[in-house]
Amino acid sequence: MIEYFLLFLGESIMIFGTLGILRFPDVYTRLHAATKCDTGGAMTILIALAIASEASLLIKLKFLVLAFLIGLINPMVSHAIARGAYKYGIKPEVVVDMYARDNP
């Protein structure tokens, strides 16, 4: 029963993440929605799969390793994309920008 609850939670997180990517105004706020909702939804669905599968223990551990790798890789790629977008010249729509003040 708990795996269907986790599956429903992951699916709704993914849907709200898609809504956030479509509605937010600039790249950095879109990256917020993309990173958090993708990582949370994918990890939740993979933990639900690991609970629901009837295979041996090593296969279940393999699902958990996949979830761990997603949680390790996704924030790293988003950090690289944010830094690259700033160096590319995309101005953020912000109220205060201390990064531009320190790196003119």
Partner: protein
């Protein structure tokens, strides 16, 4: 050996939701205002594809799909880092 009817399992419905959200996100990939928006869209779609591969492996009880998912995740990481590095240099 995928089963004939995907929708006997609640995890099969999850595949349909994931494919629908990927199709909606392809708007951001095709018409994104800048280059960074397209890269964000590509990364998100690839992560959803990794989850779809894991669900297929679970439904068909063919667990080599998990190795394919790990390899696709590595390709996603390396591709994202290379594109970010390219953006950093191509001012």
């Amino acid at each position: 050996m995928v089963e004939e009817n995907l929708l006997v399992n609640p995890f099969g419905w999850a595949v349909i939701v994931l494919v629908a959200t990927s199709l909606i996100l392809s708007y951001r990939v095709l018409f994104g205002p800048t280059l960074a928006d397209r890269i964000v869209g590509i990364n998100t779609v690839t992560t959803k594809t990794v989850v779809i591969l894991a669900i297929f492996g679970f439904i068909a009880k063919e667990y080599f799909f998990l190795d394919l998912a790990v390899v696709l995740l590595m390709v996603n990481a390396v591709g994202g880092l290379i594109l970010a590095k390219y953006m950093e240099g191509a001012r």
